[in-house]
Amino acid sequence: MSAPSLASAEPRPPLRPLHLLLHLVLICGSVAMLLPFVWMLSTSLKTPPQIFTYPPVWIPNPIAWENYRTTVSVMPFGRFYLNSLIVATSITVLQLLTSSLAAFAFARLRFRGRNVLFLLYLATLMIPFQVTMLPNFILMRYLSWFDTYQALILPPAFSAFSTFLLRQYFLGIPLDLDEAARIDGASSFRIWWRIVLPLSGPVLAALTIFVFLNNWNDFLWPLVITDSIEMRTLPVGLSVLQGQHSVRWNLLMAGSVIAMLPVLVVYIVGQKWFIQGFTMSGLGGR
């Protein structure tokens, strides 16, 4: 930190009433943000007669913990978890690996056709997944991969966006480091692994959170490419539960809590990284 500047940190006298008003608005907004969570939790602990009462009660009495047991018994949520974990983790690892290799080539190596290829990458950024979804679906069926992990993992495992984001970041790392390492006889692969990746900690962390969360919560692709109950991921499993028990709101809400809770807990613990992850991924994509 430099010496304190002459301009004071607070140039205008604090307007008390304005601040109070701002806080009032922000608190109202916060309540609106939290209300659905509370309502979900509350409903998930109610007995059927308590669900259908008017006016609605917020505190269930008696508390029906058994709703969770029932929900897990009618739907194999453990299996859904495992699937979501396998799928989201694999996609994240593959995507970071392939994207960081390609980004390294784009940012730090010279080769014929670099600009043309990069333009191709930028062009694929524009393609919505919904358009490529149908041929991918047909390809997966053709390979007999329908309802398998490969089908869930491979199509989303390659990303022009991640490559683009990492390239932007890699461009900011001084090229002299590579030069010096090359003089010492290091291969490009070694430079990528020992110099560029370790210096890219923040963007790798941001992208990891971003990619993992997006695929953990992804719905459309897992919905169309899986069929059997033991291949369903959490969001799809939840929608299957909705299809079978559409008015058992206490079970549906318990299922929602089961689906949301781990991510929320991890988020509360590491909220700084989550927000940073989204901000970096968001603004880097400009």
Partner: protein, 333 residues
Amino acid sequence: MALQPKSKPVDSALATGRRGWLSRLWRGSGGWHPTQQNEAYLFLLPSLAGLLVFTALPIVAALALSLVRWNLVGAPVFVGPANYVELLTRDDAFRKAFWNTLYFVVTIVPLQLAIGLALAVALNQALRGIKIYRVIYFMPVVTSIVAAALVFQWMFNRDFGVLSALIWKLGEWTGGAITPPDWLNSTVWAKPAIVLLTLWKNVGFTLVIYLAGLQAVPQELYDAATVDGASGWQRFRNITLPLISPTTFFLLVIQMIGAFQLFSEPFVMSRGQGGPAQATLTLVFYVYQNAFRFGNMGKAAAIAWVLFVFIFVCTLVQNRLQRRWVHYEAGEV
């Protein structure tokens, strides 16, 4: 790092000499190690192969698919542009889905930006509790959209949902003038219900991105304007808005594309039906229905392509328009 050069020829001439015609083929620009060429392609290979197989070729395949009639069993029948003709001339569901999607774009995007910016400005001014507020507002962003849609579906339940209960309460105070609609079973109110869900879900993202933009605006500008006697509104209008316009542009494009691709929200909230009288049928939803329910792959691909072209054109238009209102001179985040 050791300063002992290994016995590898760093001299490019030497290396070229050894490689002959191949290196002339690979020769890049300006004194670089020719082996970098081959290395670069190796580095690119996995990512490029994956993108080709799962994105670049499928987009072409989708175009071909949109010219056939095919229900996944038997052989595809080539029908030329018939799918497109049918969509654009006599498919009522498509027309509905199209207008519904447009409705979502023109409601969600401006509301999202306005509320997100208002909250970000308030948060930036409030000084205290900024961390706590940020954590709370961002919470819905990390949740699963399916779970969120389920919760909202329950909140919008006419008889026992908590939102309806609040409106009944309001109704009591106003002497029965206000009664809650049967949200998700109403052709009028099903769409606003979905808009509310998307706002709740995504406003935290808009807020956080705006906050990053606001914090990059130099304080000196505000100070100078205050000295010149500018009011709060003038400062916002003439300093804040222009300086965060790149952020606004980015969010505008991102949210617009997102709104065009709306699927999970209407799918879950209408129990996979598309709402009363297709009131919440969106284009992607209609793609899904055609491909996986009506066994009409060709038509589904045609709808997807129409959507793609539409998103593309809208993005280009935004890109054109940005020259008029986006300032990149200063304060680039």
